[in-house]
Amino acid sequence: MRFTLNIWRQNGPTESGRFVSYEADDVSQGMSFLEMLDGVNQKLLVAGEEPVAFEYDCREGICGSCSLVIDGIPHGPDQGITTCQLYMRRFPDGANITIEPWRAKAFPIVKDLVVDRSALDRVMQAGGYVSVNTGGAVDGNALLIGKDQAETAMDAASCIGCGACVAACKNASAMLFVAAKVSHLALLPQGKPERTGRVTAMIEAMDREGFGSCGNQYECEAVCPKRISVRFIATLNREYRRAGIVESALPNASESPHAESV
């Protein structure tokens, strides 16, 4: 198989970028999309040119590293997978394929197709955890959790943090990402004590990072490799509303919901 690739090249976050066209030949049907790009890079290297920078690691759809917008869709034309799980047999021979990075203010470009997604980490640091010390935890069976509830929490927790939801959203919103974590922890008894502070802190962190707001178009769910449902965004909205009511009644509400833990 043969393809013409239109790839975004950009040297650094502040430099201007452009599309450069590359030919990928000797491509076999059984190659993954990233292996096809590996092939292009190997040829560039031998020719003394700089290879295309793109991110990858586990190549089995779980680490969340890979991040390509392929012909206008994050992670490409198939649903429920990451870029690394996309195989070339999915494309017609001779196709023109346009490859762009995730584009969002909160995800500055590092180089070519590699973006900086540390904004998502900072949102997690704002409250995406249960503040329990190591040691002294009660027996795992001390708190019973219904199977359905645990399964729903697991649905939400399966987020791989790739950021495709942000990339697909018209508003570059990270709501599905935040919703997944907030819902996961709000559904479990272990996450309940901090649910009020958590949702407020995470939403505020999300805003600080420059993500947009949710337009309820659900493009995020359409591209999510783990098919995380936008139902969790409704849960997040509910949690946030609840937090607003609870917090406004707190006698001495502190500025930062996690300040007491410092």
């Binding site: 584009r103 805003d207 949710c214 309820n216 178009q217 359409a222 936008v230 949690e239 406004s248």
Partner: protein, 225 residues
């Protein structure tokens, strides 16, 4: 209080206010439509209904000011959020393909603008009587202001009909996404109800537009005279 303020300043808080104000306006639109549908019952029904509303000036003006306030909040927040959203992606994709997003959801700003312009025109035209072919302000047989007559007169003009129908199409597009979207923003979600919540937007849009356009066309086509 500062906490509550902060709560509504966030993107989600703003969205909640946008949704609440929007739903308030939708409620009014439905109420307005139901009132106007009395045109099919003849001039007497409509005119006495109009007089009934005008007989309570305090209620009427409170409602008017309230509506205006809600509309201002809605429009201001919509502009604020769209600007913020635009900033969230400074550089657009060369190719961007949608999978789930409806056309209505992708044109909310445009349809919103159409609705806004239409409301301004509508107020200047029928409520204030400043623009458009000046209709005769008459008193009907029962001594009420002849609102019915106003309608009949207005919607015989094809240009006016065109403007009104266009306004309704804009409204339909807006509501098609807005109603379900607002319910999601307010956190309504339940496995058993999700189908219903999803259908709410298109249903309300269809209902409102059918009702309103029926009035306009009925007059224009001389079904109601």
């Amino acid at each position: 209080m500062t906490r509550l303020l902060r709560h509504f300043q966030s993107s989600v808080g703003s969205k909640v206010l946008l949704a609440l104000s929007g739903l308030g306006l939708v409620g009014y639109v439905i109420f307005h439509m139901l009132g106007n549908l009395q045109v099919f019952e003849g001039s007497r029904a409509l005119n006495s209904y109009a007089a009934f509303l005008r007989d309570m000036p305090i209620v009427l003006w409170t409602a008017r000011i309230g509506l205006l306030g809600i509309a201002v909040i809605h429009v201001a927040l919509a502009i604020h959020l769209s600007l913020q959203n635009r900033r969230a992606r400074p550089r657009a994709y060369a190719i961007h393909r949608y999978r789930y997003a409806s056309i209505a959801s992708r044109t909310m700003a445009a349809s919103g603008l159409v609705v806004l312009l239409f409301i301004v025109f509508h107020l200047l035209h029928l409520t204030a009587g400043i623009v458009g072919p000046s209709p005769p302000d008459r008193i009907d047989a029962d001594g009420y202001r002849d609102v019915y007559g106003l309608l009949i007169h207005a919607f015989q003009n094809p240009v006016i009909v065109l403007i009104y129908v266009a306004g309704q199409v804009g409204l339909a597009f807006h509501l098609h996404h807005a109603v379900s979207s607002s319910l999601q923003t307010l956190g309504f979600e339940h496995a058993a109800l999700n189908g219903l919540l999803k259908a709410a937007g298109p249903s309300v849009a269809l209902l409102v537009v059918l009702g309103n356009v029926a009035i306009i066309l009925a007059v224009f086509l001389r079904i109601v005279r």
